[in-house]
């Protein structure tokens, strides 16, 4: 069926895979009609997809360094775009984003703008140049461009802090989904999630992660778009929701006024009854509800963070050429756009389904006992994601008496809108794919930096290939376990730690990376000062704000990267100018990086 090389057959292979997955969905739908239980459908969906990823991981096993670190640099543009989109869109994008938009409206959408706008910086400032450099990891670039182990080590430190903050959140998300879908306790489910993540990456490194991420993207985008289109059509809101929901957005504003949003407030005593983590609708759906600076500062942090996060940057090391790296950024953003532009639509449909008394699904204005008797309400109430209480004692459910968890917007809306359970199973598989693909990229970014930059480049430069790759795998497992152990403690919410990761990365790496290409005069001393002082000042500001310091310039614990990166920029420029200019060889190296043609700076195998 597939003659010739694997790479040449990619469209056929993934076409068949997508077709197979759709057939699987249809089979599940038939099984549901035939009476298969909801629980079993959920188990089938998650187990089947995870097994496929593991199989791809096994088939991509390798013992070559360039295959392990950069997938042999032969990933075609469009496929690398899909892999990057899966790498990028985490549990937070898939499960939490629509919920954030649902509850916080315009102010939250700064994340949408930031998480997409950052790719313009990636494409224009960094990705093509780092591809030309030919490095295996981001610290590899810093270490070679600036020279010296101190610069390399500092980059590894920043990378580890940022990526580790991020990865615990993702393992947490895989654990949450696995525990719900497979019906096992969370602290066991976390390790089930970890095992699936490691199966995808351990044998084949970047090569295996690339091909599983493409497969994961296909699952997650189908799982996200299918319910959005289905609900919109079922509700009669429009065949193509993205272009046709203006009336629904206006209708929500009308209902908000009718139900007295913002006028009727809950007392503190009433709110105490509400389970932790659940929230009511307190902000208008489409109104501008935040100050320009709050919106912009959050967007800036997410954009600069995007351009500094190593697990994203290293995806562009895998393309066949500089030109392909540049185009691949465009494709990545296109594939991300498909999901991100759908999130606000899902939030709109979800809110209207619940609010509009003209719809059969609407619950506001119904009697409390009636709502409490609904099947889906009971299910999600049991899962601690929904709650109603008759605060004013009038027997009717008011807008301020309904509470929901952020995750429920994505996970529960299909059920609320009356879609068959097979869709809920599909959504669970999609969430698992999103969280797993990001966790894989992150765990690999950390372990590659430790094995390549610390072990091979600094500790044992004479190590043979086989030994290097064994060290890389041992580190991968160790980091995975460390992440899972911390995730099992459940210290922090998913979204909060993801945003912190961006701020950490931006504080330490943004300017050292950008100036490494765009400012020839930047030297090692400057870069080290920039990375370390940036990271330290950002972290110090975060700790201070968390301990009650009011902060300045309106910079909050979500935007501390602004302080960190400013310190980083000033430190880097001042220290660079105070110390000696880089030698002629380094200057020539920068010149070479700026030209796409010719050999990479670092050799194919290094």
């Amino acid at each position: 069926m597939f003659k010739g090389k694997f790479i040449d057959n990619l469209p056929k292979i993934y076409g068949t895979y997508t077709g197979g997955f759709l057939v699987f969905i249809i089979l599940m739908a038939i099984a549901e009609q035939a009476g298969m239980s909801a629980k079993l459908i959920g188990i089938f969906f998650v187990a089947f997809t995870v097994l496929i990823y593991a199989l791809i991981g096994y088939l991509s096993r390798t013992m070559q360094t360039d295959a392990y670190y950069v997938a042999g640099r032969q990933v075609p543009t469009v496929f690398n775009g899909m892999a990057t989109a899966a790498d990028w869109m985490s549990g937070a994008s898939f499960v939490a984003m629509a919920g954030g938009i649902y509850f916080k409206g315009y102010g939250y959408m700064a994340l949408l703008v930031g998480w997409t706008g950052g790719y313009v910086l990636v494409a224009s400032l960094l990705a093509p140049y780092l591809r030309k450099f030919g490095c295996y990891t981001v610290p590899d670039f810093i270490g070679t461009r600036y020279g010296g182990n101190l610069a390399r080590l500092s980059a590894v430190i920043v990378l580890t802090v940022a990526s580790f903050t991020y990865v615990t959140a993702q393992i947490n998300a895989t654990g949450t989904i696995a525990s719900v879908a497979l019906d096992i306790p969370f602290n066991i489910a976390v390790y089930v999630g970890l095992a699936s993540i490691l199966m995808c990456s351990m044998l084949g490194g970047m090569r295996a992660v690339t091909w599983t991420q493409v497969a994961q993207y296909i699952v997650l985008i189908i799982a996200y778009l299918l319910p959005v289109f289905w609900i919109s059509n079922k509700m009669g809101a429009g065949v193509f929701p993205h272009l046709m929901l203006a009336d629904e957005v206006a209708r929500i504003a009308e209902l908000e006024a009718q139900f007295g949003l913002g006028e009727i407030k809950n007392s503190a005593a009433d709110l105490k009854q509400v389970p932790k983590g659940l929230a009511g609708i307190t902000k208008a759906h489409s109104e501008v509800n935040t100050t320009p600076w709050k919106f912009i500062s959050l967007a800036i942090c997410m954009m600069a963070g995007t351009a500094s996060l190593p697990h994203v940057m290293m995806r562009y090391f895998t393309t066949p050429s500089v030109k392909a790296a540049r185009r691949s950024v465009g494709w990545s953003l296109f594939f991300i756009f498909l999901l991100y532009s759908s999130a606000p639509m899902l939030a709109t449909l979800s809110k209207l389904s619940l609010m509009d008394p003209n719809l059969a699904t609407g619950i506001i204005g119904k009697s409390i006992t009636e709502v409490q008797a609904i099947d889906w309400y009971q299910n999600w109430n049991q899962a601690n994601l929904m709650f109603v209480s008759d605060f004013n004692g009038n027997g009717t459910l008011e807008l301020n008496e309904f509470f929901m968890g952020g995750k429920a917007v994505v996970l529960a809306t299909p059920e609320i809108a009356g879609l068959p359970y097979v869709i809920s199973g599909l959504v669970a598989a999609g969430g698992m794919a999103a969280a797993m693909s990001t966790a894989d990229g992150l765990v690999l970014a950390i372990s590659n930096a430790l094995s390549h930059d610390i072990y091979y480049k600094m500790i044992n430069p004479k190590a043979e290939t086989a030994k290097r790759l064994i060290v890389a795998r041992v580190l991968l497992v160790l980091i995975g376990f460390a992440g899972a152990t911390i995730a099992a403690l459940e210290i922090q919410g998913i979204l909060g730690s993801v945003i912190w990761a961006f701020d950490f990365a931006m504080s330490g790496l943004f300017f050292p990376l950008v100036l490494g290409v765009w400012w020839k005069r930047a030297n090692a001393q400057g870069a080290v000062a920039g990375m370390l002082l940036g990271l330290i000042s950002g972290t110090a500001y975060l700790i201070a704000v968390r301990n009650g310091y009011p902060g300045f310039w309106g910079v909050t614990q979500l935007t501390f990267g602004i302080i960190g990166s400013l310190v980083s920029l000033v430190a880097m420029v001042v220290v660079s100018l105070m110390t000696k200019a880089p030698d002629a060889a380094t200057q020539r190296m920068v010149d070479d990086v700026r030209v796409p043609s010719g050999k990479t700076i670092l050799g194919k195998q290094h």
Binding site: Y106, M109, A110, L112, V113, G114, T116, G117, Y119, V120, L121, A123, S124, L125, P128, H242, L243, M244, L245, A246, D247, V249, A250, S286, E287, V288, T290, P292, F295, I296, A299, I300, M303, P320, S321, V322, K323, R326, R327, V329, G330, L333, F334, F337, Y340, S341, P344, M345, D591, R594, V595, P596, S597
Partner: protein
């Protein structure tokens, strides 16, 4: 940042004695400034005017302008901008003979 962009635009001159590589870099830099200027407008600039956008009578597809830009507008412009940038950069590379061999 934007002041620097303005400064570069005003002081930019086609160098006569520049080497091929320097000229290539000058053009690449110009393209970067244009790209970043467009990026700045749609990622930061317009959001200084959130309230004005909301009140605006321009309503793409019927959505309030502020809502539309955060959901689709800016996001879509970024996608197009990157492809446009990639095309322009390829043209510049071609002009100076820096295009990579396809089989590389």
């Amino acid at each position: 940042m934007s002041f620097w962009v303005m400064f570069r635009l005003l002081t930019y001159r086609e160098g006569k004695k520049m080497s091929k590589q320097q000229q290539h870099w000058e053009k690449t830099r110009m393209l970067l400034f244009v790209t970043l200027a467009i990026w700045f407008v749609f990622s930061i600039g317009i959001f200084f005017f959130g309230a004005e956008m909301e009140a605006s009578s321009i309503r793409p597809l019927g959505y309030p302008l502020s809502y539309y830009m955060t959901c689709q507008g800016s996001l879509g412009i970024f996608v197009i901008l990157i492809f446009w940038f990639a095309n322009r950069q390829e043209k510049i590379d071609e002009e100076f003979g820096y295009t990579e061999r396809e089989d590389d």
